[in-house]
């Protein structure tokens, strides 16, 4: 089956720093989503991005489907950005999650 790997697995930042999270997938996919799981466990939708680039405030994402990767950029990080970031790819009828990146932002 398809493999979805995320890097880095862990990231520690000071408030105000920028970061790039990567998602690699091993086969063609129908679409791709990025989620933020906050410290309370909620899965929050960030981007639905099968291809191209999207921006939402301090966050932006780029998916290059032909090269099988997606990037999530976080600029001017805040403590509220802490949590686990997941990418998930759709293959036929299911969404397959990546391994996650745990982000900790300190003041």
């Amino acid at each position: 089956g398809i493999q979805v790997e995320q890097s880095p697995p862990d990231l520690i930042l000071q408030e105000g720093a920028n970061s790039t999270l990567r998602c690699n997938f091993s086969d063609s996919v129908n679409n791709l989503q990025w989620f933020h799981q906050n410290p309370w466990g909620q899965l929050i939708n960030l981007f639905y991005i099968p291809s191209g680039t999207k921006q939402n405030g301090r966050l932006s994402a780029t998916t290059v489907a032909t090269e099988r990767y997606s990037l999530l950029y976080i600029s001017s990080s805040q403590t509220t950005d802490s949590g686990v970031y997941f990418c998930a790819v759709r293959v036929t009828d299911k969404l397959i999650f990546g391994t996650g990146t745990r982000l900790q932002v300190f003041p």
Partner: protein, 111 residues
């Protein structure tokens, strides 16, 4: 209005008991899912239903039985609970080429 809602949020029960988790979506989606998140935060699909019909069963033990009375609801019933069933269970919904939305999760603890 909550798009995907599941109840209860927390469930603590003894080994051997039977329990159910309910899920409802008001997004008009035709596909609903159950996911399990283990202690290492890995999210794995368990079941997928499309228009009330089971389309994916990812080798989940028979003790887990989903039931979809209509396309807005997908409940999960678990028989003879075991310690290893302790996890967070997420319900989700989507349409064929739209983004999926997840419920708040149900933290199940088996003691």
């Amino acid at each position: 209005d909550t798009a995907v809602s599941q109840t209860p949020k927390y469930l603590v029960t003894q080994m051997g008991n039977d329990k159910s988790i309910k899920c409802e979506q008001n997004l008009g989606h035709d596909t609903m899912y159950w996911y399990k998140q283990d202690s290492k935060k890995f999210l794995k699909i368990m079941f997928s239903y499309n228009n009330k019909e089971l389309i994916i069963n990812e080798t989940v033990p028979n003790r887990f039985s989903p039931k979809s009375p209509d396309k807005a609801h997908l409940n999960l019933h678990i028989n003879s609970l075991e310690l290893g069933d302790s996890a967070v269970y997420f319900c989700a919904s989507s349409s064929l080429r739209t983004e999926a939305f997840f419920g708040q999760g149900t933290r199940l603890t088996v003691v």
